[in-house]
């Protein structure tokens, strides 16, 4: 990682942009291979080019490697830079380094995941609203009183909690009965196992909202082997390419797309604004879109 930064810095020197403002985008996981983070990265890079500032992108090797992310930020503060857009792997654990950055006069915004520091702008999906979008879609397709289930992510995380709460509120608001809420810990195999248990205990369910597409795809497998896929609609969240393919094939019914590119772009814009002394709102919603057969093609 360090080498990469050095190489990046050297490149920047050679291309003569060394004097431009330097911003860091620190994501939860590497962009390579993960379309979500790749899109965040692309959004930030494009915005950087547009505004003529230098954007560096970093991330810990996995989303659970909180310590690595803290170390990266500490190292970057030590080197000095003009702003940090951070997707914290663990909001509380990252809070002290965010404070340290602010103390060093470096503006910080949170992207994708809200941190716990007061007074730091959050730029990202309103997950509760996104989950409610999915819930409303389910409501529109089912009769009142139908039984539905929720596959939760890790509910100690704010994203997991927001999606669980938003979907539950939405489903209950239109008179559906939430008969099971189980966690699949964002994991495909665990989501599949949880779904198997849900079907066994609740043979009459008509729909399941899975808090991410991995679990939704697991739920599809569980329903397929139980011969129930035709009776139960599966709605996920994230609109990842596998899910888009599944929606087009008629397995998953729908999913919710975030706008990761906006997160990167809005993030850099906000940092530039802060650097220029402007004030920005405490929350900037990057928006969500419902994806079903009609528009899934573009997410493949």
């Amino acid at each position: 990682m360090k080498k990469l930064i050095l190489a990046g810095a050297a490149l920047a020197l050679m291309s003569g942009t060394a004097l431009a403002d330097k911003f860091l985008l620190d994501m939860k996981g590497p962009g390579a291979g993960n379309p979500f983070w790749a899109a965040v990265e692309a959004g930030a890079m494009e915005k950087g080019k547009e505004l003529g500032v230098e954007v560096m992108v970093m991330s810990p090797p996995t989303e659970s490697d909180v310590a690595a992310q803290i170390a990266q930020i500490e190292d970057m503060i030590a080197q000095g830079l003009d702003g940090i857009a951070l997707a914290p792997t663990d909001p509380n654990a990252l809070a002290p380094v965010v404070d340290a950055a602010k103390a060093a006069g470096i503006p910080v915004v949170f992207v994708d995941t809200k941190g716990s520091n007061e007074g730091v702008t959050f730029i990202g999906t309103d997950n509760e609203a996104g989950a409610k979008l999915a819930a409303d879609y389910i409501c529109g397709k089912l009769e009142k009183g139908s039984e539905v289930a929720i596959l939760q992510g890790i509910i100690t995380q704010s994203t997991g909690q927001a999606r669980a709460n938003g979907s539950k509120a939405g489903l209950e608001a239109c008179g559906l009965k939430v008969v099971a809420e189980q966690t699949g810990e964002w994991d495909r195999a665990k989501g599949q196992a949880a779904m198997e248990n849900i079907i066994t205990g609740n043979p009459n369910i008509k729909a399941v909202f899975a808090s991410n597409d991995n679990m939704a795809l697991g739920a599809v497998e569980a329903l397929k082997s139980a011969g129930k896929l035709a009776d139960v609609m599966v709605v996920g969240f994230d609109a990842n390419p596998d899910a888009a393919v599944s929606v087009l094939a008629g397995d998953m019914t729908a999913t919710v797309a975030q706008a990761p590119k906006n997160m990167g772009g809005f993030g850099i814009q906000a940092l530039v604004d802060l650097k220029a002394g402007k004030t920005i709102p405490p929350v900037i919603d990057t928006g969500t879109v419902l994806v079903d057969k009609s528009n899934a093609e573009q997410y493949k």
Partner: protein, 328 residues
């Protein structure tokens, strides 16, 4: 009366764990009579725990030698990713299904050779290394992306279900049950009826005795870790089949579940003790507990706490039993 008591205690020593499994099943049946004993639920329990059972069998052989293999979860993910990528690349399925186990055996050989040739002080260290290496490699293969759509034949062992024209369609006996069954019986035969199996127990009981009895301890250890790797790879094949995908984060912390199952099943961490039957019972106890708590909608946090308590209780019961045995 008294004349019978050693027989009872010997019965409990060998089959007490089975009594616990039966008691748990009775308890779960009482808590959810409508669901627990349903064929669908029982099928679920089998399908959901097949991978853990394979990992635990491999872990058991290692623990019998007083070793530990922390790498099984990552090696499983690596096997899964390798076979998923090759399946997508259009490699014929008979080769693809061999890839998981072969990757596992290779990782196991690395563990075994690292331990014996590099003379690392404890298998914890070598396998902690390979845990990280295998996890990194599994992510590196596709830069972290999951791979879906493996084809029917590749999925067969993990997904096929036999209804024998008897079980109603979604239920039945999963192919993975037969994989686990054959593996368990094979492992029992290997450990109890072959010279190498007995040498494995001797190494766990007293490595010095094994060495001076002319047993090539290093060679046996290399085989032991290769066996553990093999089962991790086979577990990867089952999980890939079951989920129709390979994902690099599969099996995180699975090594801890496998260790827990082996220990709950009565194997000793100090080596030389334990039975295949006990390990299978340990897997079932973990599986039944999770299933029962899920059916009763108990929060996952309580599940973790309970599993922790059961591990401690199981080992404590074992300690008590050994004390009683020594006094006798």
């Amino acid at each position: 009366m008294l004349g019978n008591s050693p027989r009872i205690s010997s019965f409990l020593e060998h089959y007490g764990i089975v009594v616990i499994v039966v008691a748990m099943m009775a308890f779960l049946y009482a808590s959810r009579p409508d669901v627990f004993m349903s064929l669908a639920n029982l099928t679920n329990i089998i399908k959901q725990n097949a991978t853990l059972a394979l990992l635990a069998l491999g872990m058991f052989v290692v623990i019998v030698t007083a070793g530990i293999d922390l790498s099984v979860g990552s090696v499983m993910a690596l096997g899964m990713m390798c076979l998923a990528v090759t399946a997508k690349a259009g490699v014929p399925w008979p080769i693809v299904i061999l890839i998981g186990p072969l990757v596992g055996i290779t990782a196991g050989l690395v563990n075994g050779l690292g331990l014996t040739v590099l003379r690392l002080p404890h298998p914890f260290i070598m396998t902690l290394g390979t845990l990280n290496i295998a996890r990194g490699l599994s992510s590196l293969i596709t830069e972290g992306a999951p791979v879906s759509g493996l084809g029917r034949e590749v999925r067969y062992l993990g997904q096929a279900n036999y209804d024998f024209g008897f079980f109603p369609p979604p239920t039945g006996l999963p192919a993975s049950l037969f994989v686990v069954g054959i593996s368990a019986v094979g492992m029992w035969f290997f450990l109890n009826r072959t010279s190498m199996g007995r040498h494995i127990f001797a190494i766990g009981g007293n490595p010095h005795a094994a060495r001076v009895s002319g047993i090539n301890v290093d060679r046996v250890l290399v085989y032991v870790y290769a066996i553990s790797g093999f089962f991790a790879g086979l577990g990867g094949l089952l999980l890939a089949g079951r989920t129709d995908s390979g994902f690099p984060l599969a099996g995180q912390n699975a090594e801890l579940d496998a260790i827990a199952a082996v220990i709950i099943g009565g194997a000793s961490f100090f080596g030389g003790r334990g039975t295949v039957l006990g390990v299978m019972a340990g897997v079932l106890i973990m599986g039944l507990m999770r299933n029962g708590l899920n059916l009763n909608n108990v929060s996952p946090f309580w599940q973790q706490i309970l599993i922790g308590l059961v591990i401690i209780a199981a080992v404590y019961i074992d300690v008590l039993r050994r004390h009683a045995a020594v006094r006798r």
